[in-house]
């Protein structure tokens, strides 16, 4: 039983207790096979007795590596990010790395501060949800020399490494999907962050390409919510154009559209189709079940972890940018319009 264990025991206390030098204790942790079995046992007993855990601040300082990976996300309250972080954390943990999570809460100014603070921790790698647009941030990051992964938004001029999917392709695919089902008067509800805007522009371009009416696009500051979806839907009905399908930048907003429609006696998808983004866990639980663009957060996290580990080990990277794609999960909220009547 660990008896008198003192707070934050150091390698020195263990050494004195075991009657060996500092290096012997260090080796007992890092290269146990180098020690005589009897010595090893004595050192281990001493470590247990004082509850010794190596101080990573000292290790980091000495080795110039922290075994820390920083991940910066807008919010934790989004399924894609959760799944990504969970997988990233789990995969990196196998190799002894920990993940330091920072949240910007969608405040652009916060990102610079956060990255500066984060760089102070000298992480071995930094993952950023989304692409880095801010000039200052870009130069800070590249100057730091830290491996950087931009995740979830595959842009051409990524800083270092990237994994994710093209938001432009998502926008175009969403539009094509609705068009193929016969919907023509489209609306888009989404956040006004960079990714969403690029998605929406691609959506509109695709509509134009197909000779459809210009989509009615409404962009608001994120995060989007159920209440927001309801409100936007109410506004659309009150004074918006006639539409037969709505593409939402988040599933929560889409859920709000479903609720508001139901309360007003508008049948989905008969009167109007609704589609979300993210394929959140609750998408299938809504009524009607929500069609959504599925983004595999876990896959993103897995690929990102692999890239980091390759890089840390000095292995050559197969690719510096990985497209994990996306899929559209069709559910009840966008069933095809009735076939031409007999």
């Amino acid at each position: 039983m660990p008896a008198a264990s003192s707070p934050n025991a150091t390698i020195r206390q263990v050494a004195e207790l075991a009657g060996v030098s500092l290096m012997t204790v260090s080796r007992a942790v890092k290269q146990p096979q180098q020690l005589a079995p009897e010595t090893l046992e004595r050192v281990r007993a001493a470590m247990d007795e004082v509850g010794y855990v190596p101080n990573m601040a000292a290790v980091s300082l000495r080795l110039a590596q922290t075994r820390l990976v920083a991940a910066i996300v807008p919010t934790l309250a989004t399924h894609v990010f959760d799944a990504m972080l969970a997988k990233l954390t789990a995969e990196l943990a196998r190799e002894g790395y920990e993940v330091l999570i920072g949240q910007t809460q969608y405040q652009p100014g916060r990102e610079v501060d956060l990255i500066r603070t984060t760089l102070g921790r000298r992480p071995d790698g930094i993952l950023l949800a989304g692409s880095v647009r801010d000039k200052a941030v870009r130069s800070m990051l590249s100057a730091s020399g830290v491996p950087v992964i931009e995740a979830g938004d595959l842009v051409r001029n990524h800083l270092d490494m990237a994994v994710g999917m093209s938001n432009e392709k998502i926008g175009a695919a969403a539009c094509s999907y609705l068009a193929a089902l016969g919907y023509r008067r489209l609306a888009v509800f989404s956040g006004n962050d960079d990714r969403a805007q690029r998605r929406n522009r691609a959506f509109a371009r695709e509509a134009q390409r197909r000779g459809m009416p210009v989509p009615h696009v409404v962009e608001v500051p994120p995060p989007t919510s159920h209440a927001l979806g309801r409100e936007l839907m109410a506004q659309l009905l009150a004074r918006g154009p006639q539409v037969d399908a709505i593409y939402c930048g988040s599933d929560m907003a889409a859920a709000g559209v479903l609720t508001e429609s139901r309360e007003r006696g508008i049948a989905v998808p008969r009167d109007i189709a609704v589609m979300g983004t993210g394929d959140t866990d609750f998408a299938a639980a809504l009524f009607p079940a929500l069609t959504s663009v599925r983004i595999d957060g876990a896959r993103i996290g897995e690929v990102a972890a692999g890239m980091f580990l390759d890089r840390f080990a000095g292995r050559p990277l197969p690719r510096r940018a990985v497209d994990v794609g996306f899929t559209i999960v069709q559910r009840e909220s966008t069933a095809a319009p009735a076939a031409t009547a007999p």
Copy 2:
């Protein structure tokens, strides 16, 4: 413009560039007012030029404090934890603390390893979602001398500090709530983790106290899901006892119960009432909107942050245990049974 900034510049490089000593640079960061304005400006220019950010590993080692708070949660994919972590992170960030998040993924064995690894980072504080039951973990933590907050589960014998609510009270309240609405044949679906089990036992005790039939309790390994809720509901209908209300340990499971009921033509709440736990953001978006036990994760995070900051600053704690309570948010899934017919 930061020109030739080198990776991980040190205080020495800045000093040489500015033609001052190391201490002058250090003071430029920590006590700028002590420097001659002209010197300060020169140092700042040098810092910008090389992109200097202090190495926290060195600072931590020197000061024996890391400005790091570790938070250990079962998963990020739960609204209560998200909200708690978001608030905790935001509040601590104001005072220059960062939050290191660990996830156990509900694997009990993982908790010990995770805490050991975490202790290596010498966090200034540790927050644990849930109470600490494991003997080894308890002694590791108390031996480390780190301030510990057990969050979200208010037990009597907390290790150090605690904030949350009584799961026993939640169970009893859920039962009382359903009983008051006239439901008598109750079922419970939940995870089989410690917190859930204590909640369920209290639920059953309350039913007994009220002279109601013994509730049909089904406990499964977490995490619970929509699919799981559907399956449990299907099983209940196939071979379970007749029930008129179901209390679920999570909103996702409750959502599954709603879906399965709808598919089978069972009307909620007319034929059966459904109630969840957590008041997740999507609870209001379900159909029918889900009655749920609301747990204010943000409030928990806020109180926890306050406790940590008081402790770090050496201020006396008003209370070592704070009950943030809970509320039952009534929605459509548990409307009262029809009044006695005329």
